[in-house]
């Protein structure tokens, strides 16, 4: 396995393997930024939202001409 790209998708949340803390980064009104399953309530963490979580050789930006709407499903 050789990870060469981190897809720059907006994250809804994740659990931090270092602390066990589960972070909510979903920015919808019903689920404003918060931490869960541990950790104090904290504001949205844009640094964590976009933080690469793996050793990455190259981060490739998405094709600007390609949107969800035109992805064949």
């Amino acid at each position: 396995m050789n990870i060469t790209q981190i897809v720059p998708a907006e994250l809804s949340g994740f659990c931090d393997v270092a602390t066990g803390e589960c972070i909510v980064v979903d920015a919808t009104p019903q689920a404003d930024a918060d931490s869960h399953h541990g950790g104090p309530v904290r504001p949205e963490e844009p640094d964590k939202r976009s933080a690469p979580a793996a050793r990455v050789a190259q981060v490739v930006q998405p094709d600007p001409g390609r949107t969800r709407a035109n992805i064949a499903r």
Binding site: V7, E10, L11, S12, C15, V25
Partner: protein, 227 residues
């Protein structure tokens, strides 16, 4: 452990073009539960669904967690010095997201050491049903229906999917698949994983957390188109 979706003959399959998705997760991780559901839906909506397989990998968020089940809210409150109300309000945030996705989710569940669960998932992987078993266990746990860390419940859930009860008991009474769990975790460390779920498409494109169905679908499309 590899879990191939059931395959019907398609143009993609006949061309022997396949896409593998590797996912590191822990049973106790609510985002792994939400993320798995979204990834499964993204796969189902893909025109290449029949050619996609999912491989489940182990990751323990807290390897030192006691084996005895502890009420989740009690654990969160004690670990972070919160009142029960504060702990419950935190759960409410994730519960709202899970409910929006149509998933049962309650704060009234338990947590415990997940090592044995991971070993049984590897057993299920040898039968090609790890992803299915993970979904069953997640739903039972997060709905509050069962303590699936408990061996009896784990044996019951696994045997219902067709693995002989005696075989599950044999694994749980030994250290079978312990090395496989540790190997998965070592691979995660080598990859530099800092958050779960951690999803890798075609062994090269990663999403370090749970994203939307569209986000997962985008990654599938990108991985497929660049194969």
């Amino acid at each position: 452990m590899t879990i191939a979706s059931s395959r019907r003959p398609t143009a993609d399959a006949s061309a022997d073009r396949q896409l593998q998705i590797d996912v590191w997760s822990d049973l106790a991780c609510p985002w792994c539960y939400i993320g798995k559901n979204r990834l499964d839906r993204a796969i189902a909506s893909s025109p290449h669904a029949e050619a996609i397989s999912v491989r489940v990998h182990s990751y323990e968020l807290d390897p030192d967690m006691p084996h005895e089940a502890t009420p989740n809210l009690e654990l969160v409150a004690a670990k972070y010095g919160l009142s029960p109300d504060q702990a419950e309000r935190m759960e409410d945030k994730v519960a709202a997201i899970a409910h929006r996705d149509g998933l049962p989710f309650t704060a009234d569940r338990v947590v415990a050491n997940s090592f044995d669960v991971h070993r049984v998932l590897h057993l299920a992987g040898s039968a090609g049903i790890a992803n299915e078993l993970l979904g069953v266990l997640q739903r039972a746990l997060f709905s509050g229906q069962a303590n699936v860390f408990d061996h009896a419940a784990l044996i019951e859930a696994t045997s219902r999917l067709g693995i002989p009860r005696g075989r599950v008991e044999e694994v749980l009474s030994s250290d079978e698949y312990a090395d496989a769990v540790r190997a998965d975790e070592e691979q995660a460390r080598v990859l530099g994983v800092t958050g779960v779920p951690f999803t890798v498409f075609d062994e090269r494109i990663a999403i370090p957390g749970s994203t939307s169905i569209g986000g997962f679908a985008d990654a599938i499309a990108q991985a497929w188109s660049s194969k």
